[in-house]
């Protein structure tokens, strides 16, 4: 390698750096390091004139490497890479020394800080010497999207994409569309009918020429990477299909909590203790009666069954509170003489229209009784003399009294939990799950529908309990994200990724299990492992683990880091 020509630019950052660090000393030092052609200090290297200075020097001094000693690379690396590019230098021939956030600011002793600045700068100069020009890749983006799950989220996403003119494969495990919402009568807080909400979608999905609907079907395998997935889909009764896909939306939904697990309530033993979904059935049928076909005089609704408990799920299932209020009102209108007792921990009535809905619930003379977390009421049969079928005993929090509640019908607001097969699904599409089994988003606030695997999106309750509006919003968001990428046509693949040198790979397969993105494929013929660049996120786990040193982390090679170590300690 011919002697490198490195330009070193030290930023005063106004006085931010210069006040603590003797930038001139850094400059003088840089010039003593072999391979450094020019070294300059400047007030604001990131400013326009600052960047122009770099560009000018690259051209005049034919620099092939640039070191900027300034702020954190997390701050301005992009800026200076652009500058290099503008001067016709590959952006990866730049290295930054972080002498502001990690030197000037946290250190007071100017001498020591300057010492450290020298170390950091020399590390950067040593490193940049080992750096190589890198180019990103591009790949085709297949416009077809696979949607897993035909619930409200799945159907919405599918329609959104289809309406945008893009082909969709909609895979539903059950023999009908609609998911859990199809089991619901009215919806809070506006009491509009769930049936209306979904039938319109079902008919449109079935009618759409863009949507390939596959009922009683499941995803069997998914290989490849964003824009270029290959899916195998199996249908009950032996049908098998394959599809080329660009993206996947996982909208597999949730499963209701099994009320029998909470022993206090004697669900399954006491005939008139039912779950919210069983009540929905009654409401849809329009007849609310006890097992003995009597109109109930007292209906007790118990919240947080399986949710917000130390024993079962710690999280809040989010929709039960308003659903309970909905029941209170529906029951009242069905059986006006009936008294509804709503037994809750906290009333979660966030969001549009919900507080008013709650108030209306109160006006409907619902008796609200508060129990303590993990201090469930327990249910016993009432005595003959009582005017009710069962009695609930609990410590009421707001009055501090131990009370007895008459009930003929007890409704358990069962929470949501991750589906039993969420593990398989996660493994199939290679996304991760949190401790409760919900799929994890790429960023909980800033990137809520994407996942850590590029091209895989999540929508609806498979990510966490949510209500219909949020599920629909997520579905549409996911669809929009995908349409954006389809519109771009091609996908850029970051230049920084790991690659296997097949000459040195011995096929020991130590690395195969290590990749969180399953980016490493093993080629049985060649007996070599291979990294799919598009899937790789460049964490470098495999690189560090490769016992043959056959995997190279582009822009973070052993050579570069060794050089950096030598530089720091030089």
């Amino acid at each position: 390698m011919s002697e490198p020509r490195t330009g070193v630019f030290i930023c005063n950052c106004g006085t931010n750096i210069a006040n603590v660090i003797d930038v001139e000393a850094v400059r003088a030092f840089a010039l003593t390091v072999p391979g450094v052609t020019v070294a300059r200090t400047y007030r604001y290297v990131c400013s326009k004139p600052g960047q122009e200075m770099i560009i000018k020097d690259i051209k005049e001094h034919a620099l092939d490497r640039v070191v900027v000693a300034a702020c954190s690379p997390r701050m301005h690396e992009k800026t200076f890479r652009k500058a290099c590019q503008a001067a016709g230098l590959n952006p990866y021939m730049l290295e930054m020394a972080n002498i502001r956030e990690q030197c000037a600011w946290p250190h007071v002793d100017g001498l020591a800080a300057t010492e450290k600045a020298l170390a950091l700068t020399s590390a950067a100069i040593f490193r940049v010497r080992q750096q190589e020009p890198l180019e990103g890749l591009t790949a085709e983006m297949c416009p077809t999207t696979l949607v897993l799950g035909g619930g409200i989220a799945g159907m919405t996403a599918a329609l959104e994409l289809a309406d945008g003119g893009h082909p969709v494969v909609l895979v539903e495990k059950a023999e009908r569309l609609g998911g859990n919402l199809a089991r619901v009568d009215l919806t809070a807080p506006y009491l509009d009918s769930a049936r209306d909400l979904i039938t319109e979608r079902i008919t449109r999905v079935q009618g759409s020429s863009k949507i390939k609907l596959m009922l009683r079907s499941q995803l069997k395998s998914l290989t490849g990477f964003v824009g270029n997935f290959d899916a195998e889909i199996v249908t009950d009764g032996g049908g098998e299909a394959t599809a080329r896909l660009g993206n996947v939306i996982v909208a597999t939904g949730y499963k209701e909590f099994d009320a029998a697990r909470v022993t206090h309530f004697g669900y399954g033993k006491l005939p008139n203790v039912i779950t919210s979904f069983e009540l929905e059935k009654m409401l849809t049928a329009g007849r609310i009666e006890t097992r003995e076909d009597r109109k109930p005089q007292y209906v007790a609704i118990i919240h947080c069954v399986g949710s917000r408990s130390a024993e079962f799920h710690g999280y809040c299932s989010r929709v039960c509170c308003m659903t309970a209020i909905k029941y209170a009102q529906e029951i009242k209108s069905a059986v006006p003489s009936c008294h509804v007792l709503d037994i809750y921990i906290d009333m979660n009535a966030f969001g549009k229209g919900q507080e008013d809905f709650y108030k209306r619930g109160s006006e409907a003379k619902t008796m609200f009784l508060m129990f303590g977390k993990n201090d469930y009421p327990f249910i016993r049969k009432a005595d003959a003399k009582d005017d009710c079928d069962m009695l609930l005993v609990m410590d009421e929090q707001l009055s501090g009294k131990r009370i007895e509640i008459p009930a003929d019908l007890v409704v358990l607001m069962v929470g949501m939990e991750a589906r039993a097969d969420s593990g398989e699904v996660a493994h199939l599409v290679n996304i991760s799950r949190d401790k409760d089994g919900w799929f994890i988003e790429s960023h909980p606030k800033l990137d809520p529908v994407a996942t850590t695997t590029d091209g895989i999106y999540i929508a609806g309750c498979c990510a966490a309990p949510k209500d219909i509006p949020d599920s629909v919003a997520q579905a549409r968001a996911a669809a929009a994200r995908i349409m954006g990428r389809i519109a771009k046509g091609k996908i850029e693949i970051e230049a920084v990724y790991a690659e296997v040198d097949e000459d040195f790979c011995s096929g020991c397969r130590m690395c195969n299990e290590l990749c969180p993105y399953s980016a490493i494929e093993y080629d049985e013929e060649k007996k070599r492992s291979h990294v799919i660049s598009a899937v790789c996120k460049a964490c470098g786990a495999c690189v560090a683990a490769c016992p043959s040193g056959a995997i190279k982390a582009r822009h973070f090679t052993d050579k570069q880091i060794f050089a950096e170590i030598e530089g720091v300690l030089a």
């Binding site: 954190s72 690379p73 997390r74 701050m75 972080n98 502001r100 956030e101 990690q102 030197c103 000037a104 600011w105 946290p106 250190h107 007071v108 002793d109 020591a112 800080a113 010492e115 450290k116 170390a119 950091l120 590390a123 991760s432 994890i440 850590t452 920084v496 290590l514 969180p516 993105y517 996120k537 460049a538 964490c539 470098g540 786990a541 690189v543 560090a544 683990a545 982390a553 973070f556 052993d558 880091i561 060794f562 950096e564 170590i565 030598e566 720091v568 300690l569």
Partner: protein, 144 residues
């Protein structure tokens, strides 16, 4: 004059390096003895890096990653978590004192924690004195 240890830090880009930046932006002052080398993930840190740093004269090595369960790459930090105890055994067999090499979890929001870790580590290494490796390789050949 007191001995100023030279410590090499390997920090993951997403949590710890950002945490270190935060310490700076929030003007939390800490010892200037740790010079940081940025890697994408603590999983990238090859034990070779640690040995090389010591061989090249570092008095200590600090490794920082995201808290377990918090990794940007979902589980990279667990790989470091697995390597570290074995590495510590190896270092012990090579006669490197326990306090010279250290693994800490520092999140992007833990500027203060990073500062505390650096200060504490610096004090411990200062107490140990210069790295035996340093003097040894220098005098080895002569004294045989």
């Amino acid at each position: 004059m007191t001995f100023e240890p030279k410590i090499v830090g390997f920090l993951c880009n997403w949590c710890s390096y950002t945490g270190a930046d935060l310490a700076g932006t929030s003007r939390i002052h800490y010892a200037p003895n740790v010079s940081v080398i940025r890697v994408m993930c603590s999983a990238r840190i090859d034990p070779t890096f640690v040995l090389k740093a010591l061989a090249d004269g570092a008095d200590g090595v600090l490794i920082c990653g995201c808290h377990p369960g918090d990794c940007h790459y979902t589980e990279g930090n667990y790989k470091m978590m697995r390597r570290f105890p074995l590495l510590k055994k190896l270092l012990a067999d090579y006669g490197i004192e326990n306090d010279r090499v250290r693994l800490e979890w520092v999140s992007a929001s833990e500027g203060q924690r990073f500062a505390d870790v650096v200060n504490d580590m610096t004090e411990r290494v200062r107490a140990l004195g210069p790295s035996p490796v340093k003097m040894d390789l220098a005098t080895d050949m002569a004294e045989r």
